[in-house]
Symmetry: C2
Subunit: 563 residues, 2 copies
């Protein structure tokens, strides 16, 4: 630390203050063994610090917890304390939190318990459920750094702004209405534009299943925290894969809804006002039904009356019912469901664990009698270019400004280049090119109606969400598997499948000879990393995709279990 | 005409070719008397050229016509010929057409009749209904100039483009599926960015009710044609008022839906790719129920599967039913409806006929027992600035390019300035400012729940749509009454109320003394001009607003009739 780099000290002080917010009783006396000796700190490793009761609570999913807390069987305080404890442990193991406000959470939980006692019922469908938040959401009494040292002690980098520690984002307001308990905010890469989570405050957030690897990004703290069951469910954001990547890298489900469903109003963001590809909010959780619980609960708050970018589109039960009727028909042996599978996109070869994950999915779909259609879409290279141009339209001006506030260094993993801003005429051309690509993809999707035999186009598309199962630090070179969905603005769900296995996932001769881009696959390093895939649906089809995910996720797990 | 200005000859040749497309039997032997002698060419004036049967057909509204043509009582050919005839007359009276393709229309009508004969039923809900189109929609076999001389003989200004005369816009494809007959395209101001309709091809489109005045713009040809009943209904587009202005100026209803409902895919546009304020498609017609017919019919084609910007939001009958139940309660003397009224926006004083129009509306609402709430919104000056910045973001580059194709002159009425393009950072700030304004307006709207006594905020807002009833050429100086709706992306319907009356609409002493902007009111010149107002609803509430408009439009007419 030199006087030339005061940001180092500022980051260090903030890092220490996060640790200091952990009650002494929950501090680890000894650090965990190095990752080279012990990769996986989930499961029995973290359980050693918890009581049986805490394990019972924190390893229940959000649906089961809410079933207990909304009926008064579990108190909000007990549940909140259990998750605070486990989140504190998680942070000490993989460095996944930016803000800790356990005291406020326990106060809130006490009020919820009092409410329940008085009214003999819950305040809302999430009564007493702890929910974690990516560090973009403003919570009263708590600061938001979004990983920037220059934001410490400010409101989004603005000093002496009356909104500092007084604002709440719209999503936070709605979660409180619903009865959720807020207790921590999770780590992100500064700028949010990276597939790993690294910044000059908390350092690097590691993958709890394999601490040699990244937890993903940019909602990486969410992924790591939930993987360790330090949270039953949380909200991230996704502009190029930032919900799906950490979900997939941590054996979680994660939803990237189409834009216009979840309220972004009043949340911090990067490149705010860039409207070619909008960042969206989505939930992450260990079970698909937890995503449904959270997504549906937020919609019940009618966010379209509080956020001008949200569409008046309530949760559509009719779509759920129709989708379930197709599932029932399939279970009765007469499937009318059909799915596309894209094993790779013609640009970036995937590592053997991902290829195997997709084979497991294909095997599952066929076992269930669903039609599987190979996917030959308009070139994903076009989507990749469009996404790159959109993210870089300001030549990196926004992020340069925020880094300059403290003078801090920029992590190598950030995908925004130093460059020239484009002109209005170039932007218009970009927006037209994006729309034309969306139209081509839409027409292609429609065209599959001729192949499915169901009278409809495919009901969803399975494809990789990254070339690798989690990733070796600094080895995330291709985000095209997730960002094409953002260009299209489609619904997409990250679905956990299996874990990388060095004994099974050996590199094939075929892959070796491929002339396509392929990055280092180290079977040993990746061993144990979660393998997630992506399940993509059409724009705004969140109800359908969540319903199908609940069904197919369980069936994929059965396939893996039977192997 | 000089060799320096070949565009004059090109425009003249195109103008003549439009007239030449009118069959000899439908050409007027004598021109109409000058406007100074005869302002109004609607009604009995145009009727003199038509048979009783033609008058019966062309003065039926779209709903009545469709009731006849979808049941085989009227043939598509007879209806089409009647409208072709009347459209030909309309064009000769006020210069409202850019393209005439009557022969193709009659061929299409013959096929529809044959279809009906064979299948004993209609091809769709618009079977045999002629529908006019603003000259932005591509129709096979027909060119699209959008008022630019430089587009003559090209595809959107591109020479030797294979799409020239071969493309059809998505809306056109859907209208054909629905059974509509397409027969003409209507005049626009080149650039579409004007409240009057003037270009170097057809010259100036006049207001049929008062030919001293403008028909409005930019969907001015639609307004004029439908006012003369040369079309029962048509589609325009609206980025700053371009559907509502010509509707209001021509005693018509016109809907500006929120963005994302009607398919713009494959239509020509100005400043395509400018995505801060999107132009939207909306219908114009003499009756409110005709708007509903067209809007609902297009949605039945599921445009969200064919246009990436359309939302998966089918026509919502449940909203119609709920709205109707409120109307029924009101009719039973227990109104639970409440409306805002904004008599002026604090920026531009309105002329006496418009002020009277709003008093008629207020009187109607009170007579019906509805709560009327005064409107004190966030400053509309902010909306005006945001709209101006959005429309001018490219410094006029797009329109300069298209004018330069022929070297033609730019009309004075066009609201885009020659200026500098803004930067990406400025654009981002503009997009954020727009969203913040939308949020403020939304919060204000919500806040009216405390004033209505209905438990809901106001169900709609009545306000001016322009400071004047139609407009004296070159006197349209303030589009803020319509453009604030585009900034907000709200649903808005132009509603006809009455006609300017020089004996009633005298300038008040109060208005004289006002220090606010006010433009010349010539009671005599404006005499007879239609007075329309605007009925604004929240974003994406088209079903509710159309249902309320059908009800309130009739009641407003009753109020006027009783005076």
């Amino acid at each position: 630390m030199t006087t030339d780099s005061p940001w180092l000290a500022q980051g260090e002080a903030k890092r220490q203050s996060i640790l200091d917010a952990i009650p002494a009783k929950w501090r680890l006396a000894d650090p965990a063994p190095p990752a080279t000796e012990l990769r996986d700190v989930t499961g029995s490793y973290i359980q050693q610090y918890l009581s049986e009761r805490e394990i019972e609570i924190t390893e229940s999913d959000a649906v089961d917890i809410a079933a207990q807390t909304t009926t008064g069987r579990w108190s909000a305080v007990e549940v909140t304390e259990a998750f605070c404890h486990r989140a504190a442990l998680a942070h000490q193991l993989v460095s996944c939190l930016h803000e800790i406000f356990f005291d406020a959470a326990i106060e809130d939980a006490k009020k919820l318990d009092a409410y329940f006692a008085e009214h003999k019922g819950p305040i809302g469908p999430l009564h007493g459920l702890p929910v974690s938040l990516k560090d973009q959401f403003h919570v009263k009494g708590v600061e938001t750094t979004m990983g920037y040292v220059g934001w410490i002690g400010t409101f989004q980098g603005k000093k002496n702004d009356h909104r500092f520690r007084t604002e709440e984002s719209e999503l936070v307001r709605e979660l409180r209405n619903l009865g959720a308990v807020l207790y921590c905010k999770t780590s992100v890469p500064a700028t949010l534009m990276a597939g790993e989570t690294v910044n000059n405050i908390i350092g690097y957030t590691w993958n709890p299943k394999n601490r040699l690897l990244s937890c993903g990004g940019s909602s990486g703290g969410e992924g790591a925290l939930i993987a360790l069951r330090g949270s039953p469910a949380g909200f991230g954001t996704d502009i190029g894969g930032s919900v799906r990547i950490p979900a997939g890298f941590n054996y979680l489900y994660g939803l990237r809804p189409s834009s216009g469903r979840m309220p972004y109003q009043g949340a911090a963001n990067s490149m705010d006002g860039q409207s070619t590809i909008l960042s969206v909010i989505g939930p992450l959780a260990p079970t698909a039904r937890s995503l449904t619980l959270l997504f549906k609960a937020v919609l019940s708050q009618q966010p379209w009356y509080h956020d001008p970018l949200v569409l008046e589109l309530p949760w559509r039960d009719t779509v759920v019912e129709e989708t379930r009727s197709w599932i029932e028909q399939a279970k009765a042996g007469k499937s009318t469901l059909a799915f596309g599978i894209m094993h790779w996109d013609g640009i970036a070869r995937v590592h053997p664990p991902i290829a195997r994950g997709l084979r497991i999915v294909e095997q599952t779909l066929k076992r269930l009698g669903h039609k599987v259609v190979p996917w030959s879409p308009p070139s994903h290279a076009i989507a990749g270019t469009l996404g790159h141009q959109a993210f870089n339209m300001d030549g990196g001006a926004d992020l340069k400004h925020h880094f300059s506030l403290s003078g801090e260094s920029k992590a190598a993993q950030i995908i925004i280049n130093d460059g020239e801003s484009i002109s209005m005429t170039e932007l218009a051309a970009l927006n037209v090119a994006k729309r034309e690509y969306q139209k081509q993809y839409m027409d292609y999707w429609n065209s599959t109606a001729e192949l499915t035999g169901t009278g409809r186009p495919v009901d969803g598309l399975f494809c990789p969400l990254a070339p690798h199962a989690a990733v070796i630090p600094n080895e995330y070179h291709y985000v095209g598997y997730t960002s094409f969905v953002n260009v299209l603005d489609y619904t997409s769900v990250a679905v956990p499948v299996t874990f990388a296995d060095k004994n099974v996932d050996v590199r094939s001769a075929d892959a070796e000879s491929a002339e396509h881009v392929e990055w280092k696959y180290h079977a040993d390093t990746y061993h144990g990393a979660p393998v997630g895939v992506q399940f993509v649906g059409r724009r705004l089809q969140e109800e359908k995709m969540l319903t199908l995910t609940e069904y197919l996720g369980d069936e994929i797990t059965k396939t893996v279990g039977a192997q």
